[in-house]
């Protein structure tokens, strides 16, 4: 079973998975490797990382030297295809014109979705992160514990390959022995920051990223992941052997043609396809879940984007993994006289509690880093270290004016030049040009550090989406309308980030590249801009107050699941992708068990 055209669709599948990113990739992988016949629908086009990834291309070959444009927001070489905050013909609307209440929604329309370009930061939620309400009375507890998911974190990390270390810090879980790949050495600016951050009590430790710092152990991992399934072991071992270790060049946002980092298209989909149990249909945009008279899902109606027509396909189980808000949209658009507010929505909670990550940043210029002897700092195409949230005790003692925490990501060193490069150096150079300007560039290149905070947003009643009553996309499908409001917790947290970074830059003997913001509202990055949106179909233990149970199974429709970020009922500072995959694997195991029992 391979990539197919609509004409090659089977009349019936065991499971339809909508979406091919982290959630869809993991769900389809787990099911197909265990013999389940899966159809994956992807709204975007087929994408081949091996032939389409710009490995080594320097920016002199790119239009505008690779600068960001509305067509390619993260620069020309970003892997994203047909994606961004705006997609032609596929609008969304905003309920408020107030800039602070605008949620901007990033989407990708390509095989593998956003996994092709993401930052590969793979942090586990800790025990506290599953019980936030019990700790501070805000938001919701998850209907599962860290211990329920720990084994699945191990499995995902072994499957995709994650570098990092076990530091045993509070609410920053260790992986099981032998799971993590060795972390790369810290860069000069990272090491310098590690030394001086100690004065401020900030622990700088290796970050966890889904990049193969060494090749995977294809001898032992497949048996650990697929006990009693020799065929799956063989297929996975082959796929692992085909992945190269990182060669320490080419930023991960471009994707990786040698499969040295995780993207669904290079890690999940090849072995799942090799199992013979997965069909993938590109250019197929799910429109609604088809329901039968008994109140069960019986398939999906989708738009064949190439031929601009609607088609239907049937299965015993339907899994939405289209990204949190897109899956919500499918639920809300599955309206009928029987389900006037969409399917799986008896709680009225579909669309509620959308969360992004709190973002804040500040940069500095560090004289100690000027003119360092030349050396290669490309590394693993992303950060090598980070600071996990470190103020649990202070917060517990009531010393902070906000709830929940953030971690700190780093940018340091001399990286492949792209436009804009060395813009606005006048504050350092006094306006030099000619040979002196070139000397100044050599001196200051690599002497800048950037710190980015990534923090937890607490779900609230004012941040949600519903269907716009008027606006439709180019296929006539109603679009989402977003409502947004930060609480004081997020705003104060963003201000705390900037204060911390200013102190840190000062501890490094550096100068700020701009003044800190006057308040939290100015410090916080725009809603949606961190692209960690989750929620909208939260899980819980009470079917009146949540959309799914702990297995990502909707309360109302037992054969309808959501395995993307939609069931998140909190959004810890830890980047959500690893947790999405762990939950998806666990949900897929549950589906397998229920199918075996004849319940699905």
């Amino acid at each position: 079973m391979p990539y197919i055209s609509p004409e090659q669709l089977q009349s019936q599948y065991d499971v339809i998975v909508v979406g091919s990113g982290a959630a869809g990739g993991q769900t389809a992988y787990t099911l197909a490797m265990e013999g389940v016949k899966v159809l994956m629908l992807e709204a975007g086009r087929y994408y081949d990382p091996q032939s389409e990834t710009p490995m080594f291309q320097d920016h002199s070959r790119a239009p505008l030297r690779g600068a960001s444009t509305p067509d390619k927001f993260f620069g020309f070489y970003d892997a994203t295809v047909d994606g961004g905050w705006k997609i032609e013909g596929e609008p969304y609307t905003l309920a408020s014109k107030d800039p602070a209440r605008r949620f901007e929604w990033w989407r990708a329309r390509m095989m593998g979705g956003r996994t092709n370009h993401w930052g590969r930061i793979s942090l586990r939620n800790g025990p506290y992160d599953f019980k936030p309400y019990s700790r501070d009375g805000l938001g919701f507890d998850w209907p599962l514990n860290y211990e329920d998911l720990a084994e699945y974190y191990d499995r995902v990390e072994m499957l995709i390959g994650v570098y990092g270390s076990n530091e045993g810090l509070e609410n920053t879980p260790n992986s099981s022995p032998g799971v993590l790949l060795p972390p790369p050495k810290a860069r000069a600016g990272e090491q310098y920051t590690r030394k001086h951050a100690k004065k401020l009590g900030l622990p700088v430790i290796p970050i966890h990223r889904a990049v193969l710092s060494v090749r995977q152990d294809s001898k032992t991992i497949p048996a650990r992941l697929h006990p009693n399934n020799p065929r799956a072991q063989r297929i996975l071992a082959k796929s692992m052997d085909e992945r190269a270790a990182c060669f320490w060049a080419t930023n991960c946002v471009r994707g990786c043609s040698t499969r040295a980092n995780y993207q669904s298209t290079t890690v999940h989909l090849p072995p799942a396809l090799a199992s013979g149990n997965l069909d993938i249909l590109p250019d197929a945009m799910a429109r609604e879940v088809l329901m039968d008279d008994a109140g069960k899902a019986q398939g999906v109606r989708f738009i064949d984007r190439r031929r601009n027509r609607e088609l239907e396909v049937r299965a015993r189980v339907v899994v939405l993994a289209a990204s949190a808000c897109e899956s919500v949209r499918v639920l809300l658009n599955s309206r009928s006289p029987r389900y006037p507010s969409g399917v799986a929505n008896s709680s009225g909670r579909v669309g509620k509690y959308i969360m992004d990550t709190v973002g804040g940043r500040l940069g500095g210029q560090i004289p100690a880093l000027e003119g360092l002897p030349l050396h290669n700092e490309d590394g693993a195409g992303g950060g090598h270290v980070y600071v996990p949230w470190w103020l649990y005790q202070e917060q517990h003692a009531g010393k902070l004016d906000f709830a929940r925490g953030y971690h700190v990501e780093f940018q340091t060193g001399r990286h492949l030049p792209a436009a804009p490069m060395f813009d606005g150096l006048e504050w350092l150079t006094g306006g030099s040009y000619g040979k002196r300007f070139k000397e100044d560039v050599r001196r200051y290149y690599g002497s800048f550090v950037g710190f980015a905070g990534r923090g937890e947003m607490i779900p609230n009643e004012d941040s949600f989406c519903d269907l716009d009553p008027v606006v439709k996309d180019k296929w006539g499908v109603p679009v989402l309308r977003f409502h947004w409001k930060w609480s004081e917790h997020e705003l104060k947290q963003a201000q705390h980030m900037e204060r911390t970074f200013a102190d840190l830059i000062s501890a490094l003997g550096g100068r700020l590249t701009r003044q800190p913001s006057k308040d939290g509202a100015a410090a916080i990055e725009a809603p949606g801009s961190i692209i960690h949106e989750v929620g909208g179909a939260i899980m819980g233990s009470d079917r009146r107050k949540s959309v799914t149970n702990q297995w990502c199974q909707t309360w109302d429709v037992p054969n309808l699941f959501l395995t993307d970020g939609a069931p998140f009922c909190s959004n810890a500072d830890k980047n959500p992708t690893l947790t999405i995959m762990a939950l998806a694997w666990r949900a897929a195991d549950y589906m397998l068990e229920e199918m075996r029992k004849g319940n699905l």
Partner: protein
């Protein structure tokens, strides 16, 4: 000193802004990322011959050749700047009147001071003009707009030059090569930073 010229720059910038722009589309949301692109390939360029020669001369003042390292002009950075100001995107289009107006200003200023176009000036004469505008001038100064032009032109020249393999090497970039292992900073760097 440059009062008249400064007035002219405003007028000309306004004129440039109002010029009929060639209708162009960007590269879209799914361009081929693997092939190489040349300025002028995706959308039409704007400079006439005189503007291109003036831009080249200014590129060479900002980043001259040094030994075996070519100048910005040698590396055709002026074509990148032309591509930039001609692009059908808002951020780039915003630079267009400033760059086109500034090129006219600097040529007019050259005529006014030295009775020759900027391209024909000696390096000392070019430097004499650039020294007056290489730092951002106060808002009430007649050199305010020319100094902003120079700042932006220098930014673009730097982006154009240092993104080439020659320029990146000159800045001190030694990456973008495959390595078997990543060994972190060499001992000499750690010593300099007190990290041994």
């Amino acid at each position: 000193m440059a009062g008249t010229a400064a007035l002219m720059v405003t007028e000309r910038a306004a004129l440039a802004q109002g010029e009929a722009r060639p209708a162009a589309r960007g590269y879209g949301s799914d361009p081929d990322l693997v092939r190489s692109y040349q300025p002028g390939e995706l959308w039409p360029l704007s400079f006439n011959d005189h503007q291109r020669r003036t831009a080249t001369a200014l590129c060479d003042v900002i980043i001259p050749g040094e030994g075996s390292v070519p100048s910005a002009g040698d590396l055709k950075v002026q074509d990148f700047i032309d591509e930039w100001i001609s692009a059908p995107y808002p951020a780039q289009a915003a630079d267009r009147p400033r760059i086109l107006g500034g090129l006219e200003w600097i040529d007019g200023e050259s005529q006014r001071r030295f009775q020759r176009g900027f391209v024909e000036l000696s390096l000392a004469q070019k430097t004499a003009i650039c020294d007056d505008i290489c730092r951002v001038a106060p808002a009430d100064s007649p050199l305010h707009e020319p100094s902003h032009f120079f700042r932006r032109f220098r930014d673009l020249t730097a982006s154009g030059f240092f993104t080439t393999p020659e320029g990146a090497r000159d800045a001190g970039y030694v990456g973008n090569v495959p390595l078997a292992t990543f060994d972190g900073p060499p001992p000499e760097v750690l010593r300099r930073l007190g990290l041994e």
